[in-house]
């Protein structure tokens, strides 16, 4: 089973929920941090890293000996990554989406592909918890291909927990698509509610069963509760605001380790998710 933890708004507690849930379950579980722009889960998990690997995306390179400057490559490219000016071909690798159209269209077979570094993937573990994350290279714009690469480490015989990026556009979709359940984490404030609604619409589009964790549940107003009722979005857990929890988080510690009474609650959260997914099958 794949559980993707998402939120819409950033800073609502996705990583807190994903890491504490994974550690509470403990074995036969893997945690994939797909928030590759700002990966944080490792700060709480402190995994032993076994493998560190650069990830590349294909971008064109021109063999000027073969090129006859016909401009077909520049014409097919929808991303303005190739320009042909007289007898010069300019390639802008950072604009390339790696579609391969230029390679296919070139009548002289003058285009081959080289790599643009997207970032790195690190694979490791903490005790019986398997861990992987991606780290987008600073200056690289496109996170979805790196997210897909992190997800390629999914082990189908285990429970996989994905820490998704914030927002509702393509990176989040890349981190949720194909999941069996999306656990949404929000805070009961106008910003939290507004972004939760957008995120729920995205999950609906993907037709994935979903449930809600309300973090800092005693601040703000009751807008999120009212919305959850209206949407039939089950509230699976509430974490009240507690300065101790905020401080534990600020030091990079896990709630379930510093306040062990929370471990049972996270296991119960998982039990509820199992129940919902078994019903929807």
């Amino acid at each position: 089973m794949i559980i993707s933890v998402a939120s819409g708004k950033g800073g609502t507690g996705k990583t807190t929920v994903a890491t504490n849930l994974a550690v509470s379950i403990g074995s036969d579980v893997q945690l994939l941090d797909c928030d590759v722009e700002e990966p944080n889960a490792h700060l709480f998990i402190n995994p032993v890293i076994e493998l560190n690997q650069k990830v590349y995306t294909p971008v064109p390179q021109i063999d000027e000996e073969k090129c006859n400057f016909c401009k077909k490559c520049a014409q097919i490219c929808r991303f303005k990554a190739i320009a042909v000016i007289k007898e010069t071909v300019l390639i802008f690798p950072e604009l390339c989406h790696s579609c391969g159209g230029c390679v296919e269209v070139c009548p002289e077979k003058a285009i081959t592909e080289t790599g643009r570094e997207l970032g790195v993937i690190e694979i490791g573990h903490r005790n019986n918890l398997a861990f992987a994350h991606g780290r987008l290279r600073i200056g690289e714009a496109m996170s979805p291909p790196l997210i897909r690469e992190v997800r390629s480490y999914t082990r189908s015989n285990q429970l996989t927990i994905i820490d998704a990026p914030p927002g509702t556009s393509c990176p989040v979709i890349a981190a949720m698509k194909g999941a069996d359940f999306v656990l949404m984490v929000t805070e009961p404030t106008p910003f939290g509610l507004h972004d939760l609604k957008l995120a729920v619409e995205a999950v609906k589009l993907l037709e994935i069963p979903r449930g809600l964790v309300i973090n800092r549940s005693d601040i703000g107003d009751d807008g999120v509760q009212t919305y959850a009722k209206m949407e039939n979005l089950p509230i699976l857990m509430e974490i009240p605001f507690d300065r101790r929890i905020a401080e534990i988080y600020s030091r990079g510690k896990l709630i379930v380790e510093e306040m062990p009474e929370w471990k049972e609650k996270f296991i119960e959260l998982y039990r509820q998710i199992e129940e919902i997914t078994s019903q929807s099958e």
């Binding site: 819409g8 708004k9 950033g10 800073g11 609502t12 990583t15 722009e37 700002e38 944080n40 700060l43 709480f44 097919i76 929808r78 991303f79 989406h97 790696s98 579609c99 391969g100 159209g101 296919e104 269209v105 987008l136 600073i138 200056g139 690289e140 714009a141 496109m142 996170s143 990026p165 914030p166 927002g167 509702t168 556009s169 393509c170 990176p171 989040v172 979709i173 698509k177 404030t189 106008p190 910003f191 507004h194 972004d195 957008l198 619409e201 995205a202 589009l205 993907l206 601040i219 703000g220 107003d221 300065r243 905020a246 401080e247 988080y249 600020s250 030091r251 990079g252």
Partner: protein
Amino acid sequence: MKELVVISGKGGTGKTSLMAAFASLAENKVLCDADVDAADLHLLMDPDIKESHDFQGGSTAIINPKKCTQCGLCRDLCRWNAISEAFKVDSIECEGCGVCVDFCPEEAIDFPIKTCGEWFISNTRFGPMVHARLGIAEENSGKLVALVRQEAKKLAEKNKLDLLITDGPPGVGCPVIASLGGASAVLVVAEPTVSGLHDMERVAQLAAHFKVSGMVCVNKFDLNFDQTEAIEKMAKENKMTVVGRVPFDPVFTESMVKGQTVLEYVGNSKIRSSISEIWLNIRNKLVL
């Protein structure tokens, strides 16, 4: 004209709340919400929309079953696995590269331009504002970020206003990169946690990569003094100016519930004095 872009790396550090507070202090400015993925500034600004426009991003391939002979070439060429065995295009997976369109021997694939969102010019009690809404699960957020910033600049020029304050997106990827080009300075709103420190370092590197001068303020600084000091130290190491600290205070949430900026909601308090001091430091840095 000067543009201040407020970013954070990590989400939820108080970027939009502080940006809105600055909006209530600054004069002669245009506001711009460039967090088009999850735009929240309008919830505090209550904009009166004067103009709305469609945002046209990329195109999506659509196979015409009447012309399609199911030869399979498009499926071979598509690197996104966006075309099913039944020759239907999954619009979420389609990258909009158009390779299938160009190579289809039957010319059976249409490639209509998609409306991916909307953008608006509004009036608010703090002056004009340009904002947008990206469609759910859409791409091209970087394009829309660039567009709203460009329109906000035009609006400022037209109204002879000399400052643009932009609420930027979280992260370090495509939308953030689109929010940095040509900015006079960025303000990074950091929070004193190990995640906050980690993420702030990455946006500091990003600002340096694009040669934009940076400032840092620490929000909720009293939640963890050690992390606050670590963030300020790292800011200095990255040649960023530390412009101040804001204490943790539930009035941020309370004012948000009321749809007000925090400075409209509180009287004289530490919050007011700390935010006013930060704004003064930013003004000095921007030479306003």
